[in-house]
Structures are given as structure tokens and as C-alpha cells.
């Protein structure tokens, strides 16, 4: 409770004198899409008379302090017509602002709001509208949220075709991926080739790679805040698509006009349905994935609204079923084996938005996130004595699971107590239940012998935060905050104080300098192989023996907003990390034993780099170019002889070019080119022999340090073209994409093997495996 007093005290001190003056009132409310009722996140509100401004929060709510009397309010949002209203403010006022979607001419297609880059105190933040994502050519035509983010500066991909995010020297577990505020622990379908987020159900995606606001915490590297659509509360809409990989359908509409809306979206891969139909009697292995998203929202009043959202998805891989039988010595033996495995997430959230006294916006939510990996194997053996007919069954069933489940409650408040201040504060509690390993084995004809081997760990993570966005002068604006957290596990309590600071200093209307500092603490680890990422990777908590992860990140940058809607940003950062873990040398998830005995603890890391982005926001031709120069290293006492070594995804150079061109209202096209330094690989360079300690001779494989060899650079060109047409009753789009247009063989993985390709079987060579050649695809989209 002592922790609570501090922010409350500050709020009271600031509010009371302001209210006593009686000259300033709140103008607050929601900004919505006029045609769908969808609330708009990040819309800008500006009072041209007082030069005071604000933006709508993650729930479309804004609050602005205005002097008593005249105000000239301007509401704007990317893709919408600017709305201007003159108000005479006599008292606190609640507005519901409806913005019209912009009908663009050929020359003014906007891909991102351009004013924010100078005004916003935050840096290292990108907002990528779903419409922009949908234009980016994708593998097999599957628009992918996470892969779209890989085109942004500071974001690197993992292996070929996958959606893993490696941000500023961080590992995938250091990304907090939120779907409507609920963490998603495994965002991958199809081993990462497709992300679990169905773009048709997504409203907005915001990526933070540094300068984190204090309302976010729990991960070191990034926050990917994905907000689902609320559902159209004006009219029914249906859209769907058929692609090479999957098909999807989305329905949305009002249950009660302007009050209650729903959204259902489903997606499923369909290849298995065909193979299982064609090869009906052959028990071939098959793979499918699906996801289902639903959201229900109800408006009780202008002040009160409730949301219920649910996501569930699963990947299922069934291996070959086998059955064989033979007769020997008058006994018929029948052997059968069946195995399947997979993984899936379930997330759900119940949220309630409420506006207190027209000044304070609150969001209270109860959320659940459950990730599970499963592997089930069944062996049935039957022996039949042919003469007597006596049958004996032997059964072995193994059911392996691992996963993590979070149940969380949090409440957040937004208010603008006085001009120049926008405050956010809140608190909550997360209950984590980790199951790194659970296996139930049934043995015997009657399941009489049951063995249960289970490792389960629970932990509680309370948190409280406060942040204040302060306009100190016209030039200087800062966002300062503090987040304090705790973690109770194994009878031990960890505590953390995480100060955050972001600021901008405006040198001119088109030029700003920005700086930020963030301290982040992460109480969980993903135990993953440095060689390859699997769904079998284990989420484990910090324990009494294994410390949590901690990072300090410092960033400075300069931002330009030039004519012709061209933005330039240059950022440089330094990040230090500690409390990292890795599998010990020679260990793997295949080894038996407790996970804590297989890891190296208390690793440290550092990452630094320079990121450049040039973006053209509008026009017939628009897009962006990014370039990153980065270095990241790690150090553990018992890895690499205690010396620093480069992190596997240390890529010195990374560049992306994204170009969109609109030929006319019916045809537009896009191209992306991705280049990055190759992944690192531990290459054995020498051998030497030794007889120690007892006299046997063995060769020792020598490499100077881990990850000592850089594989060839990765580069790829993707092309896409869309043909749009409004039919009588629907709007259709044909999309044709070409992945890897110039058919470059990028490295998927490498290994040492015999040179059998050249008939030199005795010679050991390094082999590379490439995955995707040139891959054309066609997708058909329908919208009713």
C-alpha cells in the first residue's frame, strides 16, 4: 500500500490547484469511424487557439483541457477527413466524434500520420495500419502482421520465411505480444511461417522497440500491441478470402444499432482436407491450423462500455499411423502406433471502459492467456493365440504437455488534470502457472499402471505504474514514468523499480531531437536452442535459483518531417542486459532432467546500433526505406570459456525497401526488398588431438569462439499486384504475389555432411539447406 500513495499523492497535488482556479475544463470523449462505429486509436485532437493537443488512447478515448470560452478543435486521423469544430466551453464536456473515411485521390494515399513524428515525445515506436500491411506482398499471399513488422527499422527476422522478431539484440521471448491487452506466448502457426493474428480481425498494430511507456512491462526488447476490431455497430459486413495456404471469413455487424456489435473471424488451412479426401484410405501424416476470433462489445452509455474478446488457435500435426501384424508359433501379433502433436493459444479478455466525472477514463480488465504444447503417443499391441482365441492387449499411452497460463486483473486510468499534462496510471496482478514439463504415461492392458511426472510452478506478479506526459515548453515535451513490480515465486520475492523517460526537443517545426531511457524487467525466460527455434521451447519462470532478466536501454535520435510528406528518422541506441539464460554447452531439450540443471544462468548482454528510416507517406508512389547497423553480444561464465560471443542473430546490416504504387482505382502494386547480413554459425575451424587425462587419443574440435562464422547474406525481392473491382453486391480483390522473385537461394540452415553431391562421400563439407525458391501465389478476397 505504501507504493500506492506516491502516484495518488501526485495526482491530488496537481488536480486540486487546477480545479480551484475554475478556468479550465475538460473536453473528453471517443473518436469513432462514422461508418463502422470502430473506435480510432491514436487520433489527434488539437485546440488551435490554445495550441494544446492530445491523442486518443488504445480505446479511442481522448481528454483535452481547454480554457473556459472559445475553443477551435481539430480532429484528425490517418485515412479520415479532418473534422473541425468550434466550441464554447462552459463546463466539462463529453463528445462523441465521428470521422468520415477519406476518399483518396490518386495522389494522396496516406500510410501513416505525419504529424506525430515531431510532436510525439516517444521514439522507437511504429504504427502500421492494417491496410498498409495488406499491401505488402506476402508468402503464399498470407498477409502477416509479424512479418510486416520485420520491414521496420531495428526489427530482424529469424530464419527464412518465419515471423520471429529479433529486436535490438533481443530474443523472441523478450517481445511482449499483446492481443487486446492479453499476452500471446506463441504467435506462430506452421512453425512461424504464418502468425496467429488474422489481419481481417485486426484494427491497429503498434510496435515499441525502445522508450517504453511505463504502462507496459514484463519484457526487455519490444511491445507489439495488437488491437482487435470492435465490430461494425452500424451495418452487417462479411468478407473472406481464399488463398493457397488458408481461407478465412469475417462477419461483423450490430446486434443493436450503435449499442452492441459483434465480430467473428475464422481461418483454417485447408490442404489437409484435400489430401485426406483424396487419400482417404491411406493414413498419411497431415497438418492443419486454425484460429477463431470473436469480439462482442456493448455500449451502456457514453461513459460506459464493455468488451468481451476471445481468441483460440491451434496447430495440429499428425504423424503416420502404422499398423502391422504377423503370425509366429501360433500367435498373431498386431502392432499399432499413433502419434500427434501440436500447440495452441487461448486468450480472452473482459474489459470495461468507464469515464468518471468526465475527467478520468478507466479501463478495467480481466484476462486469460493459455499456451500449450502437446504430444500424444499411443502404442497398441495385441497378441492372439490362434488355437484358443485368447487375446491379450498391451497399451502404452504417453501424454506430454508443456505450457504457461496467465490470469490477470488490471485497472488503468487516463486523465488530463491540467493543460500540458496527460497522466496514465494503474495497477494489476498477474498469476502465472508454468508447466515446463508434464507427462502422463499409461501402461498395461487396463491402464493399471499410471505414471505421472509433472513439473508445475506458480508465481504472482503485482505491478503498479504511473506516467505523465508533460508539455514543459513549446519545444520540450517529456513522458516520465515509473513502474514497480514484484514477483513471488518459490518462497522468494523479487522487486523492481523501472524508471522510464522519453522526450522531444523541437528545433523547428520540421525537426526534433528525441531521447529515451527505459529499464525493463522480465520475470520469465524461454528456454530455447541457439541452433533452431521450436514450439517445444519451454517457458519457465524466474525461480529462487534463476534470476529475472533486466535491461537498461538508452536511445537518442533526430527526426525530420520534410516537404512532400517525407519523414526521416535516425536513432541510435545502447542496451545492456543481465539475468539471461541459455542451455549449457552440450545440453538440449532432449536431455532428461530438471530444466534448471541444464542451463547457464546470469548471462549478460549488450546491444548497440544505428537505425535510419526514410518514409514517403503519401502520393501515387509511397513507401519506406530502412537501414540498421547493429551489434549484439552475450557472455556467460561457462559458455565460450567465459568470453563475450556474438549472439546468433547479431546481424551487422539490415535493410528494407517497401514501395507501393497506385496505378488507378482498380490496380495497385507493391514491392519489397529485404537484405540482411547472414546468421551466425559455430564453425569448427581446427582439430587437435590429445591423450588426456588417461591416455586415450581423441580429436578435439576447436573453434575460437561461438558463432564465429557468418553465413551468406540474406536477400529477397517480393512483388505483389492487386486488382480491385466493385461488383453489384460485393467488392472483390484479386491478389497475385511472387515471393522471392529472383529465386535467390537463402540459407535456412547449415550442417556438416558428406560431399555425396559430388560423389565424394568420404569428404566432409558444409551443406546449406534452402527452403523457398520463387513462389507465386494467388488470393481472392471478397467483401460484402
Amino acid at each position: 500500500m505504501r507504493q500506492m500513495k506516491y502516484p495518488v499523492f501526485i495526482i491530488l497535488v496537481i488536480i486540486l490547484p487546477t480545479e480551484m482556479l475554475g478556468q479550465i475544463h475538460s473536453v473528453a470523449g471517443y473518436i469513432e469511424d462514422k461508418s463502422t462505429g470502430e473506435r480510432l486509436i491514436g487520433a489527434t485532437i488539437y485546440d488551435s487557439l490554445s495550441n494544446n493537443g492530445s491523442t486518443s488512447n488504445s480505446y479511442g478515448y481522448f481528454s483535452l483541457k481547454c480554457y473556459k470560452g472559445k475553443s477551435d478543435l481539430v480532429f484528425s486521423f490517418i485515412g479520415y477527413k479532418t473534422y473541425r469544430v468550434n466550441l464554447f466551453v462552459r463546463s466539462d464536456t463529453i463528445l462523441r466524434v465521428l470521422l468520415d473515411q477519406q476518399t483518396y485521390s490518386l495522389n494522396d494515399v496516406l500510410i501513416e500520420d505525419r504529424t506525430n513524428i515531431i510532436e510525439n515525445p516517444f521514439m522507437s515506436v511504429s504504427v502500421l495500419p492494417v491496410n498498409t500491411m495488406k499491401k505488402i506482398p506476402a508468402l503464399m499471399g498470407e498477409t502477416d502482421v509479424l512479418k510486416s513488422l520485420q520491414t521496420l527499422p531495428g526489427v530482424q527476422a529469424g530464419t527464412e520465411g518465419t515471423g520471429g522478431l529479433y529486436i535490438r539484440g533481443g530474443s523472441p521471448d523478450q517481445n511482449l505480444i499483446l492481443l487486446d491487452g492479453v499476452p500471446v506466448y506463441n504467435p506462430d502457426h506452421l512453425y512461424g511461417f504464418v502468425s496467429v493474428f488474422n489481419p481481417d480481425a485486426i484494427n491497429n498494430v503498434t510496435l515499441y522497440t525502445g522508450g517504453f511507456p511505463s504502462r507496459y512491462g514484463g519484457r526487455l526488447a519490444s511491445v507489439v500491441d495488437i488491437r482487435m476490431k470492435d465490430g461494425n455497430n452500424k451495418a452487417f459486413h462479411l468478407n473472406g478470402s481464399i488463398g493457397l495456404l488458408s481461407s478465412k471469413i469475417t462477419l461483423e455487424g450490430p446486434l443493436k444499432n450503435d449499442r452492441t456489435s459483434y465480430l467473428f473471424s475464422a481461418r483454417r488451412s485447408w490442404a489437409d482436407l484435400i489430401t485426406r479426401t483424396i487419400f482417404e484410405k491411406k493414413e498419411l501424416p497431415y497438418y492443419y491450423f486454425y484460429d477463431f476470433t470473436a469480439k462482442l462489445s456493448h455500449l451502456f452509455s457514453d461513459r460506459s462500455r464493455i468488451f468481451l474478446s476471445i481468441y483460440t488457435g491451434r496447430d495440429h500435426i499428425s504423424s503416420i499411423k502404422t499398423k502391422s501384424e504377423f503370425v509366429s508359433d501360433g500367435v498373431k501379433y498386431i502392432f499399432g502406433q499413433d502419434q500427434y502433436y501440436g500447440w495452441g493459444n487461448i486468450t480472452s479478455s473482459l474489459r470495461w471502459n468507464y469515464v468518471f466525472n468526465r475527467k478520468i477514463f478507466s479501463n478495467t480488465s480481466l484476462t486469460l492467456s493459455n499456451y500449450k504444447y502437446f504430444d500424444k503417443k499411443q502404442i497398441d499391441n495385441t497378441n492372439i493365440i490362434l488355437i484358443t482365441g485368447k487375446t491379450t492387449d498391451y497399451k502404452y499411452l504417453s501424454n506430454y504437455k508443456s505450457g504457461v497460463c496467465d490470469i490477470a486483473f488490471r485497472t488503468d486510468f487516463d486523465l488530463q488534470p491540467m493543460q500540458g499534462h496527460i497522466m496514465k496510471y494503474g495497477a494489476g496482478m498477474i498469476l502465472h502457472i508454468f508447466t515446463p514439463y508434464a507427462r502422463i504415461s499409461l501402461l498395461g492392458s487396463d491402464d493399471s499402471s499410471t505414471e505421472t511426472d509433472k513439473v508445475k510452478q506458480s508465481a504472482a506478479e503485482p505491478f503498479i505504474y504511473f506516467e505523465d506526459d508533460i508539455q514543459i515548453t513549446n519545444r520540450l515535451r517529456v513522458n516520465a514514468g515509473l513502474r514497480t513490480t514484484g514477483f513471488l515465486v518459490d518462497g522468494r520475492t523479487y522487486r523492481s523499480f523501472e524508471p522510464r523517460l522519453s522526450g522531444r526537443f523541437k528545433l523547428a517545426d520540421f525537426h526534433a531531437l528525441k531521447f529515451s531511457y527505459s529499464r525493463m524487467k522480465q520475470y520469465m525466460h524461454l528456454l530455447t536452442s541457439s541452433r533452431i527455434t521450436f514450439p517445444t521451447d519451454l517457458w519457465v519462470p524466474a525461480t529462487a535459483k534463476v534470476e529475472p532478466q533486466l535491461s537498461n536501454q538508452y536511445t537518442i535520435g533526430t527526426f525530420f518531417n520534410l516537404s512532400m510528406n517525407i519523414e526521416i528518422s535516425i536513432e541510435t541506441y545502447f542496451k545492456s542486459m543481465k539475468g539471461l539464460i541459455e542451455y549449457s554447452e552440450g545440453s538440449s531439450f532432449m536431455d532428461p532432467g530438471n530444466w534448471e540443471s541444464k542451463i547457464e544462468k546470469n548471462g549478460i548482454g549488450k546491444a548497440y546500433g544505428l537505425e535510419l528510416m526514410i518514409k514517403k507517406n503519401s502520393g501515387k508512389t509511397n513507401g519506406w526505406i530502412t537501414y540498421s547497423l547493429a551489434k549484439t553480444e552475450r557472455k556467460f561464465n561457462d559458455i565460450n570459456s567465459g568470453r563475450w560471443f556474438p549472439y546468433k542473430y547479431d546481424r551487422r546490416f539490415d535493410a528494407n525497401i517497401v514501395i507501393n504504387h497506385k496505378f488507378n482505382e482498380k490496380i495497385d502494386a507493391s514491392a519489397t526488398w529485404d537484405f540482411s547480413s547472414g546468421n551466425l554459425f559455430t564453425l569448427i575451424t581446427d582439430v587437435y588431438d590429445t591423450y588426456l587425462p588417461k591416455g586415450e587419443q581423441w580429436y578435439i574440435q576447436y573453434f575460437e569462439k561461438r558463432n564465429n562464422y557468418r553465413l551468406p547474406a540474406y536477400h529477397r525481392l517480393d512483388l505483389g499486384i492487386n486488382f480491385h473491382r466493385q461488383k453489384k453486391s460485393f467488392y472483390r480483390t484479386w491478389n497475385i504475389s511472387i515471393y522471392n522473385a529472383y529465386n535467390h537461394r537463402n540459407v535456412f540452415f547449415v550442417y556438416f555432411g558428406n560431399d555425396d553431391l559430388h560423389g565424394k562421400k568420404g569428404q566432409i563439407v558444409l551443406k546449406q539447406y534452402s527452403l523457398f525458391p520463387i513462389l507465386p501465389s494467388v488470393t481472392y478476397n471478397l467483401k460484402f
Binding site: L190, S269, A271, I274, T275, Y287, S529, S530, R531, E582, S584, E585, G586, S587, S588, F589, M590, D591, N640, S641, T682, I684, T685, D686, V687, Y688, D689, T690, Y691, L692, P693, K694, G695, E696, Q697, W698, I700, Q701, Y702, F703, R706, Y709, L711, R745, V747, F748, V750, F752, L757, H758, V765, L766, K767, Q768, Y769, S770, L771, F772, P773, L775
Partner: protein
């Protein structure tokens, strides 16, 4: 279908690896043993993959050895006697050797500088820890489960007091034997009796020990099976992380069948083995422990594509290998019966 598509489109090709410009390194292997003469192996590394199985000896190196920063001598190259290595001349292979009159001693630090034409000079430092006495060895007969059968075994509890500071240990068990061998040399029949040390494999279920796995089926090979309890050990390494400054009791089990004289390598000629078990507890420094642990792990895991790469611990500046030290305390209080054909139970 996705996998069929990927599989059909995926391809494998030889990667043109541009190996970094590397020249061969001097590799040095030397574990100084208190009270023993000093010898080292000095060889050249080979680029990977190796072009031959032969060892690349460096025969023209200059080696200077320092004790407590004072030069105590230069090591000379010699080609050791072939055959079974004798007690005082342990290595049958080619090596550098310092005269028998100069012994390594515990409690001292040592450093070495090695140079050879065409190679970058190397250097290394180490120290030899003091021996830790074995307080006692308690024995009893037990029956253990082994590969679905039972083995009557000798249980030994080796008790020692861990001194202050960070300490590591190596433990091995041996018996001294002699055998007579005859052979012709220059058309002259020579008869000779050699004294040898036979290492006795044992089981050790202590979870903290590091060991080189010996396959029971074919001793000397590395077993691939995961059931490590069935692995025999010829020596084990352990640090004092779990028993700092305490009396520790290390438990080993020796199946009686391994005390059978006939279980030892079939040397030609008459054979006689002494009845005393020599239980040797070596005090080793941390570098030797790290070297042994990493080397064993690399040998065991090098073909496991899922496991993390293992770099063998190396304390040689500008080169590779190990320069370390050990001192030993021996308990010979356990006397075993002579087993020629013991039953399994």
C-alpha cells in the same frame, strides 16, 4: 501438402565456405603432477576437416618452464618408448620432457612459453593445488541392478575433508600388476617384466560428477544410449559446489567381476596383479575440471544436432590445449580377494 510443397521446392547444396585465413596453432597438453617428472605434448593443430589421422608433432619447439616466475629449465624433445606406458614415463607417445630430477610440486605456480618456427608463440600459466588426504574408505558388499540383472559389487565410500576455497577433484581406482613379455630384438630373444597400472572401471551415481562414459558392451567407446546409469567410469571429476568446507563421502561401486584378473587387457605373457586397490583422489585446479568437463561433453554430444555447441576449455594464450596441475593422495587400504572366475552374483 504444405510440407510436400516445401520439400519439393527446398534444395540442398554445398556451401562454399570461405574459411577465415588461419594458420596452424601450437597445441600444448600438460597436466603437471606433484611429485612427478614434467612432460608435455606439443603438436600442431590441423584445419577442419582433418586431412589425415596422423598426429602432427612439433619437434623443433623451444620450451621454457618457470616455477614461481623463475626459469627452472628448458624441455627437450624425445621420442618415448613405444609400448605400454610405464609408471614413471606415462606417455608412450612423442613428447617434450624435463629430466626426472626436476619434479612438479604442489603449492607452486608454473608458467610456460613455447615457440616454434612457423608458429605464433604460445604461453600458459597454472598452479598445482595441495593434495587433500583421504580420511577413510568404508567398504561393504552390495547388489546393484544393472541392465536387467543384478551384480554383486564392492561399495566404497571415500571420505575426505574439503578445505577452504574453491576445489575440484578427480578420482580413479587402479591396481598395480606385472606381466612378463618376451620378444625378439635383433634376432635376440628378450624377456622382460613390466609393471603396469590397470584402471578399474566403476559406477558412480553421484549426480554432480562429470565422467567419461565407457560403453559396457565395448569399453573405450562412447555409448549413445541415454541411460547413463549403465555407463562405467574410469575416473570422475567433481567440484565442491555442493559440499564446501565439509566432509564429503563419494560413493563408488565396483562390480566384483571387474576385479577378475582376466577382465583386464589381454597382454601376452605371464600376468600377476596385486590385491590392493589404489584409490587416488586428485586435487585439481578449476581449469583442469573445466577442461575435462567440456572435453567429455564435446565427445559425447558432437553428433547431436539439437545440443548446444561445446567449446573445449582452453587456457593456452594464442594456441589451444590445457596446461594445468594436480596432486594426489592415495588410499591403498582396500584389499580384494583374487578373483579369477567370479560368479556374477
Amino acid at each position: 501438402m504444405i510440407f510436400i510443397l516445401i520439400e519439393s521446392s527446398a534444395c540442398e547444396q554445398i556451401l562454399e565456405v570461405k574459411y577465415p585465413e588461419r594458420k596452424a596453432m601450437i597445441t600444448l597438453n600438460c597436466i603437471l603432477t606433484s611429485g612427478d617428472s614434467i612432460l608435455m605434448e606439443v603438436k600442431s593443430s590441423q584445419s577442419y576437416p582433418p586431412q589425415s589421422d596422423s598426429t602432427l608433432f612439433i619437434k623443433n619447439a623451444s620450451i621454457a618452464l618457470y616455477e614461481d616466475q623463475k626459469l627452472i629449465g628448458e624441455l627437450k624433445y624425445r621420442e618415448a618408448d613405444p609400448g605400454i606406458y610405464p609408471l614413471k614415463k606415462k606417455f608412450q607417445y612423442f613428447n617434450y620432457y624435463l629430466t626426472d630430477r626436476i619434479m612438479a610440486e604442489s603449492g607452486h605456480s608454473y608458467s610456460v612459453n613455447v615457440s616454434a618456427p612457423g608458429f605464433t608463440d604460445i604461453s600458459a600459466n597454472t598452479y598445482i593445488p595441495f593434495p587433500v588426504p583421504i580420511i577413510s574408505v568404508d567398504t561393504s558388499s552390495v547388489v546393484i541392478n544393472y541392465s536387467n540383472s543384478q551384480l554383486k559389487s564392492l561399495e566404497c565410500l571415500i571420505n575426505f575433508q574439503d578445505p577452504e576455497g574453491k576445489n575440484s577433484y578427480m578420482l580413479s581406482v587402479d591396481r598395480i600388476g606385472r606381466y612378463k613379455m618376451t620378444y625378439y630384438e635383433n634376432n635376440v630373444l628378450i624377456s622382460k617384466t613390466n609393471t603396469v597400472r590397470y584402471f578399474i572401471p566403476f559406477f558412480c551415481e553421484d549426480p554432480d560428477v562429470v565422467y567419461f562414459r565407457i560403453s559396457p558392451g565395448s569399453p573405450g567407446t562412447i555409448p549413445l544410449e541415454k541411460d547413463e546409469k549403465d555407463s562405467w567410469m574410469s575416473e570422475v571429476f567433481i567440484t565442491d559446489d555442493s559440499f564446501k568446507n565439509k566432509v564429503y563421502s563419494l560413493r563408488i561401486l565396483i562390480p566384483y567381476m571387474l576385479l577378475n584378473d582376466n577382465a583386464y587387457p589381454q597382454n601376452p605373457g605371464e600376468k600377476f596383479t596385486m590385491r590392493k586397490l589404489n584409490i587416488r583422489l586428485y586435487s585439481i585446479n578449476d581449469e583442469f575440471y573445466k577442461y575435462a568437463r567440456s572435453w567429455y561433453t564435446q565427445v559425447y554430444k558432437k553428433n547431436d544436432m539439437f545440443s548446444e555447441p561445446v567449446g573445449v576449455y582452453n587456457n593456452i594464450n594464442n594456441g589451444a590445449g590445457i596446461f594445468s596441475g594436480k596432486s594426489v593422495s592415495v588410499d591403498s587400504s582396500v584389499v580384494v580377494r583374487i578373483y579369477y572366475n567370479p560368479s556374477l552374483k
